[in-house]
Amino acid sequence: MSGTIRFESVSVGDALPPLVKPPISRLQLALFAGTSGDHNPIHVDDEAAKVGGLPGVIAHGMLNMAFLGQLLTGWVPPNRLRAFSNRFAAMAYPGDVITLTGTVTAKKEEAGEKRVELEIFASNQKGDKLLVGAATVALD
């Protein structure tokens, strides 16, 4: 959690410090199912996932998006976040190691604030992009 990133010190093309998460575990999927309110069995029960045509349980898309949120709030305090969105491009499975990355794509003044636009990604250990997103943060 850093409050020291300043608008003047950020340039288009700068990369955020990447965040590498520990491998997704089945315990994590169970905990996230409980706390996120998403009780779809395809995230915790292999048999239910197979009925749905999947090879086995898959991670919640919103778990990966929460990881992306952690990338952002690790870079700027949470109250600096103005907008955050992503497309769910591919699925993650237990054991996958998710890496979160971001790059500054624009600097602008908007709504009386100095704001920075970011492109952000969640990728697996093979380099497949699972989430493709964008965020806007306000800096001093």
Partner: protein, 147 residues
């Protein structure tokens, strides 16, 4: 064919309380050990009156309020054929532990691709706090795979 008469439909408002233990368990589940999600003093140090919610927590409030599948249920769509295609958040003010959040969901758009093999439903939920202050707008795109 999608029944596009649902476009513009607004659902009745829902309310949900934000609990600090829920925020802590959410942060633990995603493996984010930052003190701001757990320690009121750390939150105060960042200028918050109480522990703030992480960036995607507003979606969990939707799930808690059983809002996510209203349109699928109403249209008789098999949820197993649906997938989350896109999610967006626009932030106006922090969501804090102790807040009571009121949300209003609206169907923004519905469209098809690939001759109906893929159907898309776009919803927006605007959330306000107990002071009627806008806190977060959520935009959700659900895709339904047919055949």
């Amino acid at each position: 064919m999608l029944d596009t008469s649902f476009i513009g439909k607004e659902y009745p408002p829902f309310s949900v309380e934000v609990e600090k233990g829920h925020i802590r368990r959410f942060a633990h589940a995603i493996g984010d050990e930052s003190a701001v999600w757990r320690d009121p003093q750390a939150a105060k140090g960042l200028g918050y009156q109480a522990i703030p919610a992480p960036p995607t927590f507003a979606f969990t409030l939707l799930m808690e309020a059983n809002q996510s599948f209203l349109i699928l249920d109403e249209m008789g769509i098999d949820k197993r054929k649906s997938m989350h295609a896109e999610q967006g958040f626009v932030y106006h003010a922090p969501i804090l532990a102790g807040d009571t959040i009121t949300g209003r969901q609206k169907i923004l758009d519905m469209y098809e691709k690939k001759g109906g093999a893929l159907q898309f439903i776009v919803t927006e939920t605007r959330m306000t706090n107990q002071r009627n202050q806008p806190v977060c707008d959520l935009r959700t795109v659900i895709v339904i795979r047919n055949g």
